[in-house]
Amino acid sequence: MKALVWRGTEDIRCESVPDPKIEDDRDAIIKVTSCAICGSDLHLFDHFMPGMQSGDIMGHETMGEVVEVGVGAKHSLKVGDRVVIPFTIICGECEQCRRGNFSVCERSNRNKQVADKAFGHTTAGLFGYTHLTGGYPGGQAEYLRVPFADKTHIKVPDGIPDEKLLFLSDIFPTGWQAAVQCDIQPTDTVAIWGCGPVGQMTIRSAVLLGARQVIAIDRLPERLSMAQAGGATVINFEEESVVERLNELTDGKGPEKCIDAVGLEAHATATLDSMYDRAKQAMMMETDRPHVLREMMYVCRPAGVLSVPGVYGGFLDKLPFGAVMNKGLTIRTGQTHVNRWSDDLLNRILENQIDPSFVISHTQPLERGPEMYKTFRDKQDGCIKVVLKPNGDGAFHA
């Protein structure tokens, strides 16, 4: 089959690889009808996340049709089922899964020892996302093997386009959880850094959950226009001071809820501290560029909440933790517990509360995936979200 394969820094290729096979009773194989490039895939593309190996298959936003089922998964899946695959692999049986903390499943990471060393304790296995999280082949491919498939799936109805459902795999529940874990009150101002795909979903989630005011921060006009369409007041950080403007919009008190939908690759040349981080990254003295975390910690209203869906990889420098402690801020973060929200969010799509396909700017065949990584990373051609079609059916632009 064809798949997008990581070959090194900024080097992703569309190659022929062996078809996946059932390796365990609880496995299933799906024929991929649609997959997407996630912003967090770019951290792998740029090689800021450790644990990648040449030959790894990329991708963790995938949906398709079940074509083979292991005997241990037959009670919940059958050939022909239409499924979205959550990016977190879950056993559904461990203590964390039973509590709904699916992204920290204790059993699905087959490289548990490595993760124990890196993070202190293991987190869930993820598709196509480094050997720290299991080194499982990803879904930017014609076929995908789904481990623990009896639990790691979201069944979706026929008759609805893939584009409306695909983002149940990651960015929609990620934006939703980012907003939910802020515990949004009707009086709240919610500030969201980053208007990429997760930022856009977070804006919609905050609006649906009833925030009084939603403020979105970015620099790209196309992303800001989409944020505005979703109901956000926008701040272009290249044109105005984020801290001053946020204080203006909140009577000088700061937003109650701050959400980081940027993560470890904050724009490297926009601020002095990001340039400092970039220089330290080049010298391998720091892994991430945490400009957004610094700004959120500083501007957030006392007793407020910082929610961090943005991905961070390692060791961060010069965080104003004194502000966090003295203002009594709450920090909530983590990979998304996708299956905790999927039934509810599927219903909200079916009830027309939201149509997540609004975020798609490019649809292309899988073969053009490597080029689209670059287009997406460099924010060219108005690119906000790329959907790939491994089995035909794609060539759509904005």
Binding site: E10, V180, Q185, R204, E222, A229, G231, F358
Partner: protein, 179 residues
């Protein structure tokens, strides 16, 4: 399959031939820079350049900075053009060795020819990266019709008010009025 997206890479690859060449030039900068810093006297002796060792060492630092910038930047194009500017400075310096009484004149001529060739490669590489780039001016910059709410923005506000946040994600009751 036709696509309006400018080709930024080889088909099936995330890198263009220009990107790959840029990386090689980055490593060349590092190697040349190291040589200029470690052995400026030997280089000057070979080319018959008098009293220019400190300048050659400075050029070495420039080459290393340039190489690091090429290898760590998302967009190496400006740094490849910086190499072209550096090549011109190098050529001007080496040209001082073309005087007839210079015993290293032959070596200077060869070095100049080599520098000319490298400059041509650098310029071709920078032009190739530039022409392959997607153009910000072609960006679809207006998504103001993409609300994502089939029932419209006004109806969307609090449309999910039936949602009950799980207790583990709520703020402690006593703190809620302040948060």
């Amino acid at each position: 399959m036709h696509s309006p997206i400018p080709s930024t890479a080889l088909p099936g690859y995330s890198q263009s031939s220009g990107d790959r060449l840029a990386a090689k030039l980055g490593y060349l900068s590092l190697a040349l820079g190291a040589a200029e810093i470690i052995a400026p006297q030997a280089i000057c002796r070979m080319l018959g350049l008098r009293d220019l060792a400190p300048l050659v060492r400075l050029y070495g630092a420039r080459e290393i900075a340039n190489g690091v910038a090429i290898l760590t930047s998302h967009d190496p194009e400006p740094w490849i053009w910086a190499r072209v500017a550096g090549d011109l400075a190098d050529m001007a310096t080496v040209a001082t060795g073309l005087r007839s009484d210079n015993p290293g004149r032959e070596a200077s001529v060869l070095a100049l020819a080599g520098l000319l060739a490298v400059t041509a490669v650098d310029a071709a590489c920078a032009r190739s990266i530039g022409s392959g780039k997607g153009n910000r001016r072609t960006a679809v910059s207006d998504y103001s019709n993409r609300s994502g709410y089939p029932k419209g923005l006004t109806a969307a506000w609090r449309d999910a008010s039936d949602f009950k946040a799980p207790e583990d994600m709520r703020i402690p009751r006593l703190l809620r009025p302040y948060s």
